[in-house]
Symmetry: C2
Subunit: 187 residues, 2 copies
């Protein structure tokens, strides 16, 4: 299964809709790695332009590769699919290098986008047809998609009961992966 995901720290927006770079949140790295590994994701890309912030991710990786390994070997397994990148283009290049193909790029957002939508089952069907799929998750107040450039489709926002849908990116990524893989298993 050629499923890839990326957590974007730039370009994202802040609450005033300005384009910013966000810093690394340690729990994002752990939780999303663990969910990605659980749901068969090939690589979990973390896009972070600031070198100092990337060093935090490298330190987390190194911890689980060395002293943390004995304490909890599962974390090493989860973190082994993590790929740290400076720019979004580097993600695309790595996927092309690894698979020989350009991925179908799928955006996620807590707000409904006026753009071509794809549902969870259709993503599962793409994966079943051995397509290369990259799903994007944002930090801050969400990805600045105009700045990021090309996205092929958007998944619908995750809706619960009522108007409130302010999930953490850790929760949203877990739910999105669960929904796609649950559909994938029925195909």
């Amino acid at each position: 299964m050629n499923l890839f995901i990326a957590l974007i720290h730039y370009p994202v927006i802040n609450k005033n809709k300005e384009i910013i770079v966000t810093s690394i949140v340690v729990h994002d790295i752990h939780d999303i790695s663990r969910a990605a590994k659980t749901f068969g994701v090939k690589k979990f890309f973390v896009v972070e332009p600031f070198e100092g912030e990337r060093k935090i991710v490298e330190r987390i990786k190194r911890f689980w590769q060395t002293s943390g390994k004995e304490y909890n070997s599962n974390r090493l397994e989860a973190i082994s699919i993590l790929s740290l990148q400076e720019r979004f283009e580097d993600v695309l290049n790595e996927i092309i290098q690894e698979t020989g193909r350009t991925p179908v790029i799928i955006g996620t957002s807590a707000q409904k986008k006026d753009f071509e939508e794809i549902n969870f089952k259709e993503v599962a069907e793409l994966l079943k047809k051995d397509e290369v799929v990259l799903i994007l998750f944002g930090t801050g107040w969400g990805i600045a998609y105009e700045e990021l450039g090309k996205v092929d489709y958007f998944l619908p926002p995750i809706e619960g009961i009522g108007d409130f849908n302010h999930l953490s990116v850790r929760s949203a990524a877990s739910i999105v992966l669960d929904r796609i893989i649950s559909q994938f298993k029925t195909l």
Copy 2:
């Protein structure tokens, strides 16, 4: 909908299967509150016997009720369903006081339990019939169910692709709530 959830910090086990008390993880409080609020949970109980640890939760609540309110009012909304308790019995008492009924207590675990199982759809059906349901989530290496006492059913472990299913409790709680509410909406 009478759906309640509880995050248990005692009695839980450590990696050597000893019964311990775990400390509060700030991201648990935020992420699970936000997911609970999204999926229509009436109250999110945090069970923590240590007073010093409970103070951390109180401080988080107070932050979003005061200086954090202007920065992000969604967090206040999410945290407003949080109920901090010293013991598991206090959770049951509060639910009985609030609803007049004893809840159906449903355990979760990353390992399959040799106990009566309930699936996600059946939980949704209980909720549809206006039953009071309490779902338990563990910290550490999971809840010490023998020590906790009465559980009526277990949900099956969340399975992805392959053997790895080491999700964070934040991811697991989000997925469990999404699965139940997705079923609930189809009834």
